[in-house]
């Protein structure tokens, strides 16, 4: 009995003394980083890193204390030759170590992206604390400025940017590229990385940020941009269209019918014909509902619907082709066709295609089938202006 008591006491003592507090850190010792921006510095060998740190006392729950003029965040900037060096240099300013697991966005400026991202990406992929679910963005202009444009409804710019990217599905004009997605595209032999573009827009006195379009990379260097429609062309193929607005010309009068995409499914099947042609069979199933029309004609008729559906499919095909044409100029395979062929025709890929895929990519032929369906006309069957049109 006495022996057991001594043993238990020893074990307890060892637990408390030897464990210490492991790697416990009190909240007040942390600088919570919610966004990181990377710009080129004056010195071409180094970069300027902006870390957006939450100023928690400004975001206080009770609102007691705190200066209304001061911002709820603090963009701590420093220069260094590498990301990690810069991040540690910031402690000269913050006093505490930066805590990066909550970093929602990583923004590179365009000029950094054009020089090549790989050396500025390694840290984020390697760091234990960092999350691969952070979004990666490319800023037109300075990344630091993007992080400093105070949003109107959100308190924190980085959180605002995160929400902007996250809600891309409303238009499908961009795409939420995480660090994981970006790096897996980077690792791939054929697929080219993409990243959404962000820019600061001056609206009167306020600076707003706006995300749209994609930056296209070749290896790790940014070489091109996709506009909104081209971006959606890409998203159709990789099955990432969530919703969005399709503007379709009406068959009889000059005007447009506007559709909201309800569901969209994209499937790609690569085929190499016997004579060596590469054909991509793209099969897109699309359901949309009529949300708006600018003409007075009565659209809710089966024969008109059929024509509208054809027109809609035409619009989708145009979007896909425009994305392809843009990317084929630079030869960067944003769709990942190369990887699909690699999977299906493993032998042929290694023997014939792998070497000059870039050139072959430009010669791909398409067989696009779009199956569009109009499911409903929302609350109106016929436009109220029907009388005018007769």
């Amino acid at each position: 009995m006495k022996n057991t008591a001594v043993k238990i006491a020893t074990i307890l003592l060892m637990i408390t003394l030897l464990f210490g507090c492991l790697d416990g850190r009190e909240l007040s010792e942390l600088e919570i980083v919610i966004g990181i921006g990377i710009d080129s510095a004056d010195d071409p060998d180094s970069i300027k890193l902006t870390a957006q740190v939450v100023n928690v006392s400004q975001l206080g729950l009770s609102g007691s204390g705190g200066d209304p003029d001061s911002k709820p965040y603090w963009n701590a900037a420093t220069t260094g030759t590498t990301i990690f060096e810069a991040i540690r240099q910031i402690t000269h300013k913050t006093g505490n170590r930066l805590f990066v697991p909550h970093c929602e966005v990583v923004i590179y400026s365009k000029d950094v992206a054009k020089q090549g991202l790989y050396k500025h990406l390694d840290f984020f992929l390697r760091a234990i604390e960092m999350r691969l679910t952070s979004f990666i963005l490319i800023a037109e202009g300075k990344a630091g400025e993007v992080l400093d444009a105070k949003p109107q409804t959100e308190e924190l710019p980085a959180v605002n940017i995160y929400n902007l990217v996250k809600s891309y599905g409303f238009t499908s004009h961009l795409y939420d590229v995480t660090l994981k997605e970006f790096s897996s595209r980077l690792i791939s032999e054929a697929t080219a990385p993409v990243a959404p573009l962000i820019k600061v827009v001056q609206e009167g006195e306020n600076k707003d940020v706006q995300v749209m379009g994609l930056a296209v990379f070749k290896e790790d260097k940014m070489i091109d941009e996709l506009n909104m429609d081209e971006t959606r062309g890409l998203l159709w193929v990789i099955n990432e269209v969530k919703s969005g607005v399709l503007i379709v010309p009406t068959p009889e009068e000059s005007g447009v019918a506007v559709f909201e995409i309800e569901t969209a499914k994209g499937k790609v099947k690569p085929e190499i014909t016997d004579d060596g042609k590469i054909i991509m069979h793209i099969d897109i199933k699309l359901q949309a509902n009529l949300s708006e029309q600018t003409t007075a004609e009565k659209l809710a008729r089966p024969e008109i619907f059929e024509k509208l559906q054809d027109n809609m499919s035409e619009v989708v095909v145009q979007e896909i082709m425009s994305a392809y044409e843009k990317s084929s100029k630079t030869g960067s395979d944003i769709f990942g066709f190369g990887d699909m062929i690699h999977k299906k025709y493993n032998k042929k890929w290694h023997e014939q295609l792998e070497e000059d895929w870039e050139e072959i990519y430009k010669t791909i032929e398409f067989d696009i089938k779009v199956d569009s369906k109009i499911t409903k006309t929302n609350l109106l069957k016929n436009p109220v202006t029907q009388k005018l049109g007769g």
Partner: protein
């Protein structure tokens, strides 16, 4: 100098040893064993003398000597303890028949009056009496409230039950109040308590075995079980464990609980208790054994399983849907109450990356001005809360309210405004506190576990909490209550019994008795297919 000191110390040592020895002899002489062992004498005055001696001339010892019978030629004495007996009863049913009715008897009829059994049989109008021959027995009866009738020339005495009991009425118990269900509760009188159970289970198989425990208190303890349902091995075990208790007094069933439980060093109780007859009856119907103790409304029931902590008698009186939700809520509340502060500390000190960004910012904002580490903050709040609770329980309810107001103001508001405690911590501790009251049978174990986990979380974060949970789980799995695994029916798994653990199935569905308590009894407690449905109409 030193010589003086050593002499002084020796003196005290000797004195202490002497005192001890004296104490022993004193207690020895307090109970005159020699007299007690004697049988009742023929001589009345000697008997009275003996009783007075044994009772150390206590002021409430009443000795009434009187004459009775034809021509009043017999002498007798009635001895009772005035504080325990009902005097009206004595006058009406003992003295009246003896002193007046016996006068009517003729001379030859009173010859037999020396035979004390005849008095009981033919004269006294009282139902409960017994014949005694030993002085020891006499004293025992006297102390439990009987009146002793001694007749000169007889070596026997009559112990007449004239006990008067001051008792509360059958009231609604404070600890287990219900919205729907019977409101009666046990009181401090074992007779009343047994009657309450009897009234629920009108079956001859209801066995009530009485025994007396406690050298000085001579407390009545009753083992109650249904002979047809209770496992005789468990009943035997209860009998055995009860009979080995040698103690001077049993003041509450808690004493008994500590002597008979399977794991005395466990923080989990393996003996359940209740104040409600309907709950005890339902446990008896599942083959359990109840232990009633005189002087307390709390009845013990064995064996206990852990799942019982989450069951309330009201679960079975209200509809199964609400009951099932409440069951799940209670289980959640139990986990909250043991893990709340520990998880808070583990998350905010060790695993900040697990908290959603917005929440982390809020938590950090609340913690910004707090000068203590999170573990200390949590510990402070918990200790203050436990002090408040303890103070509130012991105080009369009028002052208790003041305590709660002061507590709410000091804890909830002032501490936060002074920047000593973060508002989130207040929420965590408040939630924990409320949760712990949702599972009343485990309130004591959850209080201990809460500190245990908090301590582990402070040392090793989530890893520590996980280790603690594992230790607790292993301990729970190793517990047995009178041979029944404590975690039954979850481990070992019994599917059909799970109907009454996480959910409460409709009563017509639970047609089997718990198999963990079974022996060779039919487990079917009601016929199958009792599900009510509209009658099929024949065309």
């Amino acid at each position: 100098m030193f010589g003086y000191l050593t002499r002084k110390i020796n003196y005290y040592f000797l004195k202490a040893a002497n005192d001890k020895a004296n104490f022993r002899t004193n207690t020895g002489s307090a109970t005159p064993v020699s007299i007690i062992a004697e049988p009742i004498d023929k001589d009345l005055s000697k008997n009275i003398e003996n009783v007075k001696n044994v009772m150390s001339n206590s002021c409430d010892l009443a000795v009434h000597e009187f004459c009775f019978g034809y021509n009043r030629k017999h002498t007798g004495a009635l001895i009772y303890i005035s504080s325990l007996t009902d005097r009206g009863e004595i006058h009406k049913h003992v003295l009246n028949p003896l002193m007046y009715d016996s006068l009517m008897l003729k001379n030859n009829e009173t010859e037999n009056m020396f035979d004390i059994e005849d008095i009981g049989r033919s004269l006294l109008s009282i139902t409960e009496y017994s014949v005694i021959i030993q002085l020891k027995e006499l004293i025992e009866k006297l102390l439990s409230g009987s009146s002793i009738l001694l007749v000169h020339g007889s070596t026997k005495a009559l112990a007449i039950n004239t006990i008067k009991v001051e008792t509360r009425g059958v009231q609604e118990p404070d600890t287990e109040s219900v919205v729907r269900g019977p409101r009666e509760g046990f009181n401090e009188n074992i007779k009343t308590n047994i009657s309450l159970i009897r009234r629920k289970l009108k079956d001859p198989a209801l066995c009530i075995e009485e025994m007396t425990i406690g050298e000085l208190s001579n407390t009545k303890v009753a083992i109650v079980y249904l002979k047809t349902l209770a496992n005789p091995k468990i009943v035997d075990e209860v009998r055995k464990r009860l009979s080995r208790i040698k103690i001077d007094a049993i003041l509450e069933s808690g004493y008994i609980e500590e002597f008979i439980e399977d794991a005395p060093y466990s923080i989990f109780s393996t003996v359940s208790n209740s104040e409600k007859p309907d709950k005890v009856a339902s446990k008896l119907l599942e083959g359990r054994v109840a232990i009633l103790v005189d002087g307390t409304p709390f009845v013990l029931m064995v064996p206990m399983i852990f799942a019982e902590s989450f069951q309330s008698s009201e679960d079975y009186y209200s509809r199964p849907f609400l009951s099932s939700i409440l069951r799940i809520l209670r289980i959640i509340a139990f986990f909250l109450s043991i893990l709340g502060p520990a998880l808070y500390v583990a998350l905010t000190v060790f695993h900040q990356e697990l908290i959603p960004t917005q929440l982390l910012i809020s938590v950090a904002a609340g913690h910004e001005k707090v000068p203590f580490p999170a573990i200390l903050e949590a510990l402070l709040m918990l200790i203050v809360f436990d002090i408040l609770r303890e103070a509130g329980v012991r105080l009369p309810s009028a002052i208790g309210q003041t305590i709660s107001i002061v507590g709410a103001l000091v804890l909830g508001q002032a501490a936060v405004e002074a920047g000593l405690i973060s508002p989130i911590m207040v929420i965590v501790v408040a939630t924990t506190a409320i949760s712990s009251f949702a599972v009343t049978p485990q309130t004591d174990s959850s209080t201990v576990l809460r500190y245990f986990y908090l301590f582990l979380a402070g040392i090793a974060g989530g890893f520590g909490v996980m280790m603690g949970m594992l230790i607790t789980l292993m301990h729970l799995a190793s517990l047995r209550s009178f041979g029944v695994p404590y975690l039954w029916p979850v481990a070992p798994l019994n599917f059909s019994a799970l109907k009454d653990v996480f959910i409460r199935a409709p009563i017509w569905k639970m047609d089997k008795r718990p198999s963990a308590l079974k022996w060779d009894v039919d487990l079917q407690r009601q016929s199958r297919n009792l599900r009510p449905s509209p009658e099929k109409q024949e065309q």
